[in-house]
Amino acid sequence: MSSLQLILAISLATPLISALAVLLFHKNKNLRDICGPIGGIITFTTAIVIALAIIDGQVVSITLWHIAPGIELSFRVTALGTLFGLVASGLWILASIYSVGYMRGSKDKNQTRFNFYYAVAIHAAMAISYSGNLMMLFIFYEVLTFSTYPLVTHNQTKSAKDAGRLYMGILVSTSLLLFLPAILWVWVVSGTLNLTRGGIIPVDFPSYLLPILLAMFAFGIGKAALIPIHRWLPAAMVAPTPVSALLHAVAVVKAGVFSFLTIVVYVFGTELLSSSGSAVWLVWLAAFTILVSSIIAITKDDLKARLAYSTISQLSYIVLGGALATYAAIEGAALHIVMHATAKITLFFCAGAIYVNAHIKKISELDGLGTRLPHIFIAFFIASLSIIGIPPLGGSWSKFLLMVGSVDSGIPLILGVLAVSSLLNVYYLLEPCARAFFKPAQKEFHIENHTLTIFPPLITATLSLLLFFAVDWVRLLTNLMVMP
């Protein structure tokens, strides 16, 4: 085992060890709660080492076992996977610190179980990002679904259980009905499931079947939340906010779009998709999802519900980039995974912080709160600007590249869709800040101060700002993904 393989093994094992440590230290609150941040720091450090090796052109892989010819249990780090691994592990550090503040603030009794499944979910996300084989990716995709179920139903109320049932129902049924058959189809026609740059679908695959195969993947990956299989995401908002923040802004939904992008780049190959035109329908479906879910977001008064629909809309940017399948669009989509994750986790952190510090969930009740919780609303404002795509914030790069990509692919109308969507973003994301800062307070607020919930959003907001200037570093990885 070379040193890089060891690093990869550590990177994958740390979240799992951290989960077990949580169980081990369940009696000592402080010891238990420090497991997450420490695990996050170790995992993130290893992810950086792996990223440097990948940029350096080295191969990082571990093959465990061959299940059947072409189906192996293996990790082989791709450029896209490196990016997702960095995002998931980096944000885990902050999210685990934040969740300590949040859970203590809301006086939760089942924090051990919560921390345990939280770490297991991160383990699944890391394994997804480093998978070298589509079957491996599928296995951990399911592990992620099952490990987040206890988190969604954490509050054990009737509505939480109903939401959990919808969550499992949609994610498991789409994956078994479409995702797995699609994977097996790929295996039957190409004899392998190893992720390979340039794709593995053989050239003699009939082109009229390509859109069907693509549709099986696009709808089979329920975590990407395309309309009409998006309903699990708003339902999952019954979970405590740290879950919504890390899982439904970063790990789970990004695992969905990551899997989709992986399939576009490493299974179909961008050449095949863009030359055959078999993804045009998906471009329009993604555009439809972007606009419709933005409009629904405007109608939501519950802050988390609004953010959930905003997430659905932003995820479709990434699907759109994959479906356009030009270099710029793919790069934009990959960048958007990073940019949107950073910004959206900030927004969820803020929503949770507003709840534990001021006990408010609805946007209409935010009037005048800005001066009482200034740090939170400044973070919220910065992150909103990043999602809208205003320089100098990270989100502007990914939107710019997506626009370039849509012109490249000869569907300039998509430019209009993106522009309208940005306008809708302005409306629904800036409303909370506008109310908080410019409207007079209508009632007396009862403010608590949970420091651990306030500084993580400030850090992630700063990160959104820094990513604008540091985009060239991220593009070192995205370039590897698209350049021949």
Binding site: A68, I71, L73, L176, L177, L184
Partner: protein, 495 residues
């Protein structure tokens, strides 16, 4: 060398002889020990058989030195050698499981005789999987039917409905056997021989012959009853659900599988040249029947509340998958059917074992109500049960996934999207009933505090041996998949 040369005969003769000896033993412990030793010897011989077959390709054993077509011959080739190994493996584990499980479910004084019948059943299963003589097969069919009916009826100590189940099996099984023997009569009239290999030659000389076709139709109908193929499966759910749990796990694992193997051998090995009938039968009879079985079994299982009956219904669906794979009439179809025969035997055997342990623990029949919260009280059994259940769905890293993999391969090769949809939808539906049980057992609270009897360690061991086999075959599939391919080579020819 004497032993090695006569393994096919000994595989039947030893359990048969031991069955007679065990029936006069009065101590139940010694009877069990004899039964276990017998099955272990059979497992060893079956293992030796693999070496012999891989060297010789096909082993034809003539009884008493009377060469066929005059004498009776046993045929062992790569199509059935793995089946023999499977039967012997399952019978060892089921015998271990029976040690305490059978003792708690039937009267102690009946135990030695129960083990005698148990060995008789195993002997008949070996005979069924090896015989190369159409009439001799009828004899084993009858031995197998009568001995398993006796075993099922032993469940009457727990639930009197076992008697009705056994009686139904007796009547329906007798009708099936009659059909089969009528078919053999026609075939004998047409060809003048009962030896299967000889029949193939004669049929080639005869060309199209109405008597032979009629005979084949009768034989297939008769075997379908024994194999539990929809719609002549009606004896099966009650028989499996009221039999003692050790019996359920033995019969559900291998009894129908042996009949299904012979069914495939008749279709692909013996009568493959009567294409007008075989093609018609596969496409217009077996395929619709299998699809109906898959959906009927799965949907009926979703609404079933008695757990043993639920898994018996799921067996109908799983047998449907196997026959569906055969009905594709392709090399990959047959090999995936054979692979599923092996994997499903392990999975269903393990599930019935686990349900038996649960029922013993709570002291009453396992239902959706009585099992509430039992999973948390019996975590070791529950863990094994969950793994076997996941394998039934076809979750990766279990043996069930390998079945699913090759079934999908066979289905995709036909290029028919409808078939893909059938398999995908039905396997997603099977999640529903398993999820329901898992939820009841793990998440729900029992109505009254549970008094759990301590589960017997021997039963644990046998359950977990099966579970380990399920996992090992799930991550190391080469053995099972290549045996499926070899069996398909032998049955349908290397295409």
């Amino acid at each position: 060398m004497l032993i090695l040369d006569n393994i096919p005969a000994l595989l039947v003769a030893i359990p048969l002889l031991m069955s007679a000896i065990v029936s006069v033993i009065s101590s139940d412990r010694i009877a069990w020990l004899f039964a276990l030793l017998t099955t272990l010897v059979c497992l060893f011989m079956a293992y030796e058989l693999i070496d012999i077959v891989s060297a010789k390709q096909i082993l034809s054993y003539a009884f008493g030195g009377w060469e066929p077509p005059w004498g009776i011959a046993f045929i062992v080739d790569s199509a059935n050698v793995y089946l023999i190994l499977l039967v012997s493996f399952i019978s060892v584990i089921a015998t271990i499981y029976a040690h305490t499980m059978l003792a708690r479910e039937i009267a102690v004084e009946d135990l030695p005789k129960a083990y005698a019948v148990w060995l008789l059943t195993i002997a008949s299963l070996f005979g069924l999987s090896m015989t190369g003589d159409a009439f001799n097969l009828f004899v084993f069919l009858e031995i197998s039917a009568l001995s398993s009916i006796t075993l099922i009826a032993l469940g009457a100590g727990q639930d009197r409905r076992a008697l009705i189940a056994a009686y139904n099996y007796l009547i329906i099984g007798a009708i099936g056997a009659t059909f089969y023997v009528i078919g053999v009569g026609y075939l004998y009239a047409a060809t003048g021989t009962l030896n299967l290999l000889n029949i193939i030659e004669r049929l080639n000389e005869l060309g199209t012959n109405q008597a032979a076709i009629t005979g084949l139709a009768f034989m297939l109908a008769g075997i379908m009853v024994k194999a539990g193929i929809f719609p002549v499966h009606i004896w099966l759910p009650a028989a499996y659900s009221y039999a003692p749990s050790a019996v359920s796990s033995l019969l559900s694992a291998v009894a129908t599988k042996v009949a299904i193997y012979y069914f495939a051998r008749l279709i692909f090995g013996i009568f493959m040249n009567i294409t007008q009938l075989i093609d018609f039968f596969l496409l217009y009879v077996l395929m619709p029947v299998s699809v109906t079985a898959i959906f009927y079994g799965t949907i009926a299982a979703i609404y079933q509340t008695d757990i043993k009956r639920l898994f018996a219904l799921s067996s109908i669906a799983q047998i449907g998958y196997i026959t569906f794979a055969f009905s594709l009439n392709s090399h990959s179809g047959v090999s995936s059917g054979v692979i599923h025969i092996i994997n499903h035997a392990l999975i269903k055997g393990a599930l019935f074992m686990a349900v038996g342990i649960f029922a013993l623990g709570i002291g009453k029949r396992a239902t959706m109500v009585s099992l509430r919260g039992v999973g948390r009280q019996m975590p070791i059994t529950f863990a094994g049960f969950v793994i076997a259940g996941l394998a039934l769905i076809g979750v990766p890293l279990t043996a069930g996934f390998i079945s699913k993999l090759y079934l999908f391969k066979a289905v995709f090769e036909t290029g028919n999207g409808l078939f893909v949809a059938i398999i995908a939808i039905s396997s997603a539906l099977s999640v529903l009933y398993l999820w329901k049980i898992f939820e009841v057992m793990w998440l729900q609270e029992p109505y009254q505090p549970l008094k759990i009897e301590k589960e017997p360690a021997v039963a644990y061991i046998s359950l977990w041996l099966m579970v380990i086999a399920i996992i090992v075959f799930g991550i190391y599939s080469n053995g099972v998949s290549s045996s499926g391919i070899l069996a398909a080579n032998a049955l349908i020819g290397a295409r």
